[in-house]
Symmetry: C2
Subunit: 156 residues, 2 copies
Amino acid sequence: MKKTFKTLVAGAALAAIAGSAAAQVVGKMEDQIRWRQSAYHTMAWSMARIKANVEGTYNKEQVIEAANVIQAIANSKMGALYQPGSDKGKGWKETRLKHEFFTDKEGVGKVAAAFGKEANEMAKVAATGDAAAVKAQFGKLGEACKGCHDKFRQED
Amino acid sequence: MKKTFKTLVAGAALAAIAGSAAAQVVGKMEDQIRWRQSAYHTMAWSMARIKANVEGTYNKEQVIEAANVIQAIANSKMGALYQPGSDKGKGWKETRLKHEFFTDKEGVGKVAAAFGKEANEMAKVAATGDAAAVKAQFGKLGEACKGCHDKFRQED
């Protein structure tokens, strides 16, 4: 493995809380923010793929691939990448996380649960190949994304 | 949805080749490169999580989550994000893609197939919860990553 990958993985592994059953890789603050931004952009690409399919020629496999990516990321406990203080700092770019993320635990729990629910449902509906149902679920999933953006993400 | 997400999704959808059964979202060159970089960093985070588990306290669920992310991305036909000319340009940062990626189709096919195989196997092994088998498969998957880096990625 070349440098960047090795460095990233090694740095992150070092940062994991060794010996704890709940050990999570949290990385340095800039890693956390960059990983978050990377995961959201990977999901944005996947959302764009689903959108192109429901608005254009429908390709079942493409929608399944994209929905599976969103589902896997949605279930990957990204909460570990939101350590206190990570509403300030730069990953690929300055984070837009609002400080309220750390004070409104109930609100965070709600938007996270809604997103997980709709992402899992999206993968389920995608597997059926029913384009109309996928279009409807895409709308619900987009609303779940928006639910978090509206509450916890600063405007550009 | 707020601006960035809407813009990203809309821009990408427009860029899809409408009317083709193989329509793929390719986006603008900078989108392609940013999405690629985002997907690889999301996988790097997931690799770091698996590494932390096989080297520290093993948590079956964490490894499954991480392996599922890698598997979903590995199966998402990222090839669409490698349009001719995308060995030059900037996403989050300058791409390190070598020009050889576009001339050595056989080599690309080989590393892509190897990566897909090991990523699928990783998810399968993760599901068993067998820490020793996961450690061995993590090594193989890392080698598959390296296979592509060595051939098609420029050194920093």
